[in-house]
């Protein structure tokens, strides 16, 4: 709760500080605000603050872990994007404030206790994203991305709302606790409740971009400005996953019956469609989009397993995934190519050894190569589900194998020889972010052990 208040004030202050036309002040305000948020969250971990208490929000340990992770990634993305944001002095404050507002929505999704708050959180998370997708007004592709994202997104929101209405009709309450009690007290399952849950599930699968609701993904990811793509792939996905995990675990007592079959089918489809489409991509951001669809497929396995560690495993997965995306987006900002072709990264690792090294680490981590953090994420998810769903895990392992092919292709492009390649300049902020993500990629595994 305190975190949301601090973040909201930070957003507002940076909006008004931007009127001085000094981007560096906006950056400082935003960074200080986000850091204070993180500090407040860590204080909350040891001594919960209870000075404001209202219905709707409840902080537990997972709220804090997820919140801190989302805050960390937002911090990094603001750092990465600063070089682009500061070019348009008139809008620097707007961009940064909108990203921070979106983070507020994510924090609501980590801590809601009723469907009211859940829906508002989801909207606060997505509406700024619709705007940010189209923030590059000179580029037609960016406007197209915003339009597509907005239309499909609002349709999905409509479906979700209809689902919530059905659930309310069946259970008669909005509170997660009362909902789970009402379901437990039910003698025979109600069709109305099931239809409501399926509609909510459809809304969720759309938000995270799972097959067959993935069509918006590649276009939106490749059309949006790079930072926004990164933010969508990490913070928005983390928040959507956590929000729905909370809803299904606390409100619906976990997924039962034919939902499990639906989720298994969706998970398998998502892995295959994402992977097979990624094989043929020639643009880095489209590759990231399809690979992120695949990763959603792996993460869905998490939702199938019913035990108390599920939120921790899901967190590990997205923690690992996020660092890779941060590194890749930074590299794409350094290369700064309009067309975003993978060929443009030829000999990148030779001309820029450090950035190239981190890029290769990030790709290896996405592929799940052992010492890196991505391996731990995959390992925890797969090992938790292997007893219940052995076939599903085998399919997931096959897919991990396919994925290595296209990650290796990018790595080979990056280390290949090219005499004409020019050295790209790495700004200090990008160097800082690259070092942070390098540490994250290499040492993240220990952090996950500590948390678990």
């Amino acid at each position: 709760m305190e975190a949301i208040i601090i973040l909201f004030s930070t957003g507002i202050v940076s909006l008004f500080i931007a009127m001085t036309r000094k981007p560096i002040l906006v950056l400082l305000t935003a960074l200080i605000g986000v850091t204070v948020t993180a500090i407040v969250m860590s204080i909350n971990w040891y001594t919960p603050m209870q000075w404001v208490k209202y219905d709707g929000i409840e902080t537990d340990y997972f709220t804090i872990i997820y919140g801190a992770t989302a805050t960390l990634f937002s911090f990094l993305f603001i750092l990465i994007g600063y070089s682009k944001f500061s070019k348009e002095v008139y809008h620097t404050g707007d961009y940064i404030a909108i990203l921070i507002f979106s983070l507020c929505g994510a924090l609501c999704l980590f801590s809601f206790t009723d469907l009211f708050m859940f829906f508002i959180g989801l909207e606060i998370l997505s509406i700024p994203m619709y705007v940010m997708a189209g923030s590059n007004k000179k580029n037609l592709l960016s406007s197209e991305a915003a339009m597509k994202y907005f239309f499909t997104g609002s349709f999905a929101t409509g479906v979700l709302l209809f689902g919530i209405a059905c659930v309310y009709g069946a259970l008669g309450t909005f509170q997660l606790k009362e909902m789970s009690e009402a379901i437990a007290a039910m003698k025979n399952s109600s069709a109305l409740l099931q239809v409501g849950m399926i509609l909510i599930l459809a809304g969720f699968l759309f938000k995270v971009g799972a097959v067959p609701f993935h069509f918006w993904g590649p276009d939106v990811y490749s059309g949006s400005p790079n930072v926004v793509t990164g933010f969508m792939a990490t913070v928005v996905k983390l928040a959507a996953f956590c929000g729905f995990l909370r809803l299904f675990q606390l409100g619906f007592n976990g997924l039962d019956g034919f939902f499990v079959e639906i989720l298994i089918a969706v998970s398998v489809l998502t892995m295959f469609v994402g992977n097979l489409s990624a094989l043929r991509q020639t643009k880095l951001k489209r590759l990231i989009a399809y690979s992120s669809i695949t990763h959603v497929g792996y993460a869905l396995i998490c939702l199938l397993v019913k035990n108390e560690h599920t939120p921790a495993y899901l967190w590990t997965y997205f923690f690992a995934y996020g660092f890779s995306i941060v590194a890749l987006i930074t590299v794409s900002m350094i290369v700064n190519d309009e067309n975003d072709d993978i060929d443009r990264y030829k000999a990148f690792a030779r001309t820029n050894p450090f950035a190239g090294f981190v890029m290769i680490l990030a790709l290896l981590s996405l592929a799940g190569v052992p010492p890196l953090v991505g391996f731990f994420g995959k390992y925890l998810v797969f090992s938790s589900a292997i007893e219940q769903y052995p076939v599903l895990i085998i399919i997931a392992l096959i897919n991990s194998g396919i994925a290595i092919y296209y990650y290796l292709k990018v790595i080979l492009t990056a280390i290949s020889k090219d005499d004409n390649a020019e050295k790209s300049t790495v700004s200090p902020l990008h160097a800082i972010v690259l070092s942070i993500s390098m540490f994250g990629l290499i040492l993240g595994g220990f952090v996950t052990f500590w948390v678990n």
């Binding site: 507002i12 909006l15 008004f16 009127m19």
Partner: protein, 123 residues
Amino acid sequence: MTNSSYSDYFPILIQAGVALGFVLAVLWVTHFLGPRLKSKVKNSNWECGIESDGNARFPVSIRYFMAAILFVLFDVEVIFFYPYAVNFKELELEGLYAVILFVAFFLTGFFYVLKKGALEWEK
């Protein structure tokens, strides 16, 4: 008013009926009042001058849209005052704080919009 039933809406229904009926009746009656001349020239869009050409609908400026969308946002804000006003006494200070906070947020937004010059009618 603590109780409501459907019969309470009859005055509204009658009012709506009278309003609609009046408009329709006036429109209908005007056809019979006053002299009417009909000829081909009289019925054409332009009695004299250049022949009409093209579509009457043309794209309007996005500036209207800006004003309209901000109007919608503030419209929604104002609506929340209604349930507050009805409960003004019972909610006491806590309700007042809640509303003041809400209005303060909106004023910040309004101030931002003004500062950005979004409502200026630029040249």
